[in-house]
């Protein structure tokens, strides 16, 4: 997660002219204005509303109270329209700011800083102006503190429900409030909703919010009398929908007001057009492309208003559901292709002004199994080339029939941008969705599976049918490795926290060790899930989302919120970290202890206990043992096994909404934190060091190049990790300068898909990486750069030549 806004790095001179259509002046201005926007820090405006409504509605059901909070927010948020905009709306008072939420209050009052995900600019209590500080302390905090246990906040409630044996695992010190969290497991113990879902955007376009409200009314009328939970939910949903339907009108009024004083004739006409559009959507069905884009954008704003800080409210595969509006407009002459391109560009710029990580995907399958690529898919890649910002997250869904032309456009974007796009395997995606049914969920039909869309980094959801992921937390497979070799004792916590799976020096075969690891993992997983289920109930009790539930299929029909299992599909994700550390450790033990017998298990454990001090030769031997990422079956086999048992154990864990858990291989930055609580491992990793990043090879351990990494990754059953798995590949942008660089890149992407790997993202090597490699050469032994017609190991070049390559990279020679 990077804090930079601009992704406009151009890596290769061949790619400066890749845009097939010129960027309109308006888009250029909007982009420049966005980059000039200052981050406005945190605001308590929403929190004031929330606190007021919550304290006035104490005796009502929680779902209704939340609906009233949402309604008040939706009616009171300012309606800002910026110059040049065609698509309007903001998640907040200002384009870039962060809402303070109740869980932040004890943190702020304790004098600690909060770092928002989106802008990564930390703020503390003293950063608020004196009036806000007073309000926070005297008006807002007292309500949420309650009788002192903060049980009205998620964090307070979580601590209350957590039994002692689990508290030990999650918290280092629970005497203070907020408590010090442990890192052996983590979960979203605080912080509001997780987002990562794709609501039924298509339905909102087709029937409007008013159509959904009608359904809710009909359902309400059909219920028997009496104040049931079902009734409470439907009434709350209607309260929320009513306020949501007014949002368009409020923006329309603002546009008309601006039009009155607008001197420029052309802009006045545009503002009146904006007013017309917003008077209609999202309350009514969209009639053309402009209305459709405005409708899905305002829907996203509304979702954020209900769940501030939620990430990746995902519009998803908009090339699939917007195509008919585009086609219609072009055929009837309402719009030219250039005007449509401009609208898409304007929409993409707006995605920086809502939740973090809006994910847009193009390509993939249609519900009938045919290739889904259309003109809009191409235009959206074009928009990415024009806009070049961190938002939106952008992926290409690749399968065997993906047209080469789409991949060429995508490869041009790769040559152009440091992180866009992500490449995802549409076949593996489909298999993953079908496999969910075998893991305890309801059966997913083939057409639904083919419509799956990535949310967040890439976590697949079935748009409009999924509850949205409830975040189960990070699970540390490297820690399990340590506990297996210490009979349950944690070197960091200096106490027994795991199961007693036996003294490892008594294991006479490698299989006994693997059995112990499996048992330890299953035991830890069970505890982990117990806690995360308790947290899930706290969500349902404190933070039901009546508005979002109304735009998820199933909730109105069952008259139940998504927190109570109203959606068709109800999954929770559990995120793994350290699979490579655990797998490489098994490989090293197998080779040195059980096969070559160069060291006894006892001696190995001693070396680990002492962080290899006095055991340097052993360390070297451990480091030299085969490692994941080099297309070596001997090593890849163990990582694949760890990955498999993780997936298997996760899939056994029920959640509290009638669904199950699904495994995810995207630990984000947890690989850094998760390493801080794990001692030395047989993989050769020293104590407290970072774990390997996601499922990728350990740093510096893959020395055979990207094709070998893909081959190793292909040996992992990607499809059984049904919430997805990350593969980050370091790549020298010099590649694109080669003869046929673009074409060879598309072939590389095709070969990636051939391996059945789900995800690949390219980290283009930049000056910063190269400088870091100069400082820490051991971490970058695998770093290959393309120079002067051949490849060279960067860290072995002479310093002046290394500097020359940095200059080349940064000056975009």
């Amino acid at each position: 997660m990077e804090a930079v806004k601009d992704c406009g790095k151009i890596h290769s001179p061949t790619s400066t002219n890749v845009s097939t259509s010129p960027m309109r002046k308006r888009v250029k201005r909007l982009r420049e204005n966005h980059l000039k926007l200052k981050y406005d820090g945190a605001s308590i405006d929403r929190l004031r509303i929330e606190t007021r409504v919550m304290s006035q509605t104490e005796d009502e059901p929680m779902v209704m109270r939340r609906a009233k909070v949402f309604a008040a927010v939706a009616r009171q948020m300012p309606t800002v329209i910026l110059p040049d905009e065609l698509i309007v709306g903001h998640a907040g008072i200002k384009p870039l700011y962060e809402d303070v939420i109740p869980d932040d209050i004890p943190v702020l009052l304790a004098g600690k800083k909060i770092t928002p995900v989106k802008e990564q600019v930390a703020y503390a209590f003293e950063d608020f102006d004196p009036e806000d500080q007073r309000a926070l302390k005297e008006e807002i905090a007292p309500y949420w503190r309650g009788n002192g246990d903060w049980a009205r906040t998620q964090l307070g409630s979580n601590l209350k429900v957590l039994p002692g044996y689990l508290k030990e695992l999650f918290l280092v010190d629970d005497t203070a409030f907020p408590p010090k969290r442990s890192m052996i497991y983590t979960s979203f113990i605080k912080g509001g909703h997780y987002g990562h879902n794709s609501a039924n955007y298509k339905k909102v376009l087709e029937v409007g919010l008013s159509g959904i409200a009608r359904e809710a009314q009909e359902k309400l009328a059909s219920l028997p009398s009496g104040n049931t939970k079902e009734k409470q939910f439907l009434e709350s949903a209607l309260t929320a929908l009513e306020a949501a339907m007014e949002a368009g009108g409020r923006f329309a009024a603002q546009a008309r007001k601006l039009a009155e004083s607008e001197k420029d004739e052309a802009r006045r006409t545009e503002l009146l057009k904006i007013a017309q559009v917003c008077e209609h959507v999202p309350a009514q069905p969209a009639r053309n492309l402009h209305e459709a884009l405005q409708s899905i954008f305002l829907l996203q704003v509304l979702l954020y208003w209900e769940s501030p800080r939620s990430m990746s409210q995902t519009p998803g595969r908009i090339d699939q559901y917007l195509y008919k509006y585009y086609r219609n407009d072009i055929d009837s002459g309402v719009l030219t292709a250039e005007e449509a391109q401009e609208l898409f560009d304007c929409y993409f710029i707006k995605l920086s002004h809502v939740s973090y990580g809006s994910h847009i995907s193009v390509g993939g399958y249609g519900p009938d199994g045919r290739d889904g690529t259309n003109e809009v898919s191409h235009m959206l890649i074009e928009s990415m080339k024009h806009v070049r910002l961190v938002e939106p997250f952008f992926s290409i869904l690749v399968h065997a029939r993906t047209p080469e032309s789409l991949l060429i456009r995508a490869a041009e974007l790769s040559s152009f941008c440091s992180s866009h796009p992500v490449y995802l395997n549409a076949d593996t995606l489909t298999t993953m969705m079908l496999a969910r049914g075998t893991q305890g969920g309801p059966c997913v039909t083939l057409p639904l599976a083919r419509q799956a869309t990535p949310a967040g980094c890439y976590e697949p959801v079935i748009p409009g049918q999924d509850s949205g992921y409830m975040f189960g937390g990070f699970f540390n497979m490297a820690a399990v490795m340590e506990l297996t070799l210490t009979n349950g004792y944690s070197r960091y916590y200096k106490k027994k926290i795991g199961m007693e799976t036996g003294d490892p020096s008594t294991f006479t075969t490698f299989e006994e060790l693997k059995d112990a690891y499996h048992k330890q993992l299953a035991h830890m997983m069970k505890h982990f899930n117990d806690a995360s289920n308790l947290f899930e109930r706290v969500f349902a009790d404190l933070l039901p989302t009546p508005f979002e539930s109304s735009v998820i299929e199933g909730c109105i029909e069952k008259a139940r919120s998504r927190e109570e299992g109203g959606a068709l599909f109800n999954f929770k994700q559990i995120v793994g970290a350290g699979s490579t550390d655990a797998g490489d450790s098994l490989t090293a033990v197998r080779k040195l202890v059980y096969e070559d017998k160069t060291v006894s298990m006892k001696e190995l454990c001693e070396a680990l206990e002492n962080n290899f001090e006095g055991h340097e030769l052993l360390l070297k031997q451990l480091c030299k043992a085969p490692k994941f990422g080099n297309d070596d079956d001997y090593a890849d086999e163990q990582v694949a096994w760890v990955s498999h048992i993780f997936a298997e154990e996760v899939a056994k864990q029920p959640n509290t909404r009638g669904g199950f858990s699904i495994p995810l291989g995207a630990p984000l930055q947890y690989y850094l934190f998760g390493g801080r609580v794990v001692g030395a491992l047989p993989s050769g990793r020293s104590e407290w060091q970072a774990l390997s990043d996601a499922w990728s090879p350990s740093a510096g351990c893959d020395t055979k190049g990207p094709t070998a990494v893909l081959a190793s990754m292909g040996k992992i059953d990607n499809a059984e990790l049904t919430a997805g798995v990350t593969l980050n590949l370091r790549f020298d942008p010099g590649f694109f300068k080669l003869k046929d660089g673009i074409r060879r890149f598309t072939h590389f992407i095709r070969s990636f898909a051939d391996q059945g790997i789900f995800h690949v993202q390219f980290n283009m090597v930049d000056g910063e990486t190269l400088r870091d490699a100069q400082k820490n050469p051991d971490q970058y032994r695998d770093l290959v750069v393309k120079v002067a017609g051949y490849s060279a190991y960067y860290t072995r070049l002479l310093k002046p030549l290394q500097d020359g390559i940095i200059a080349r990279t940064e000056h975009k020679l």
């Binding site: 055979k704 070998a708 072939h747 017609g789 051949y790 490849s791």
Partner: protein, 323 residues
């Protein structure tokens, strides 16, 4: 100025004889190679070369025997290697915490590589049977298939191990894997010809048109090279490569003489590639504990390269800068 051919090691002819003829000595296998032919390829870097070009950016490949690379920056001077070396070839050097290898004594057994805790020593040279090598390159078959890539055998000089390379190439052929070879062409016509039928593409170096300059800078005459290029171009598709080294062969006269020669090769000449001299091989001399003699040479200017390219193109020959 007469340049002296560097000879700071003694080739050991007995090791080649003792070697099982079925095995080939490979410096390294480079997957995802992109500079040596179409598509995504695997490059096999063979050991041993009959030439001693002063600008050589790949000195690891000159020696036909396994040898040790020493990465000085990683060495902590622990002395493990001194004790392990069966030849007693390693000694403490002048600088503290550094060692030196007497290359004359070293037999390339690799024992010191095994014991080095800091990975400061590497072995260049591993023996493969043709089947073993084929199994290695087969791993990226999916990438060849998608990209129209394949295998390129380079070096070093592959024809020094012609029998092994021939067996390996016929395995590639029988599996329909595109095969290319990079050769300096200083070899007997029989050896070269024995490989040509198994090759889809041949890269041949043309270092200088003047015989005397050629032998001064490479250690050998160019007569046999020119002859082999002419003959090969009658049977195979050929790409000519000229390493453009300032002070040696970068004159307009030499390049235009080269272009005239190339023009006569006819339709089998696909193109001529001008490879600008670069200093990215200097660290390899240090790793071999050898001295580098071209310190003063700077890479040719882009403009000069562009002029040379234009000149070659004026002969009606397809020409590019870089591989």
């Amino acid at each position: 100025m007469k340049r002296v051919r560097p000879l700071d090691y003694i080739p050991d002819p007995t090791s080649m004889l003792a070697m099982n003829v079925q095995k080939g000595l490979v410096h390294k296998i480079e997957r995802f190679s992109l500079h040596d032919g179409p598509g995504i390829r695997t490059l096999i870097v063979m050991k041993g070369c009959p030439l001693r070009c002063h600008w050589c950016s790949s000195p690891y490949t000159q020696n036909p025997n396994p040898e040790i690379l020493y990465i000085r920056s990683r060495c902590k001077g622990c002395g493990q290697c001194l004790e392990t070396c069966p030849q007693k070839a390693i000694t403490r050097s002048g600088a503290p915490s550094q060692v030196q290898t007497k290359r004359v004594l070293c037999i390339g057994c690799g024992d010191c590589v095994e014991v080095c805790v800091n990975q400061a020593r590497e072995l260049s040279g591993r023996y493969y049977t043709p089947e073993e090598l084929f199994r290695e390159i087969e791993k990226d078959e999916a990438f060849y298939r998608r990209s129209g890539g394949g295998v390129t055998v380079g070096g070093g000089e592959p024809t020094l191990q012609a029998e092994f390379v021939g067996d390996f190439l016929s395995l590639c052929r029988s599996h329909f894997i595109h095969a290319a070879m990079e050769t300096c062409a200083f070899t007997s016509w029989e050896k070269l010809a024995s490989l040509l039928d198994s090759l889809d593409l041949v890269y041949m170096d043309l270092k200088h048109m003047d015989e005397e300059r050629h032998s001064e800078w490479t250690g050998v005459s160019n007569r046999r090279i020119l002859e082999n290029i002419r003959k090969a171009a009658r049977r195979n598709q050929v790409v000519l490569r000229i390493p453009v080294v300032p002070g040696f062969n970068n004159t307009v006269e030499n390049i235009s003489a080269s272009a005239r020669f190339a023009k006569k090769l006819g339709n089998n000449l696909l193109r001529l590639e001008l490879l600008p001299y670069h200093p990215f091989g200097i660290h390899k001399y240090e790793e071999l504990e050898r001295s580098y003699t071209l310190d003063a040479v700077q890479p040719p200017a882009d403009e000069h390269m562009a002029n040379l390219r234009a000149m070659v193109r004026s002969f009606g020959i397809d020409c590019q800068i870089g591989g």
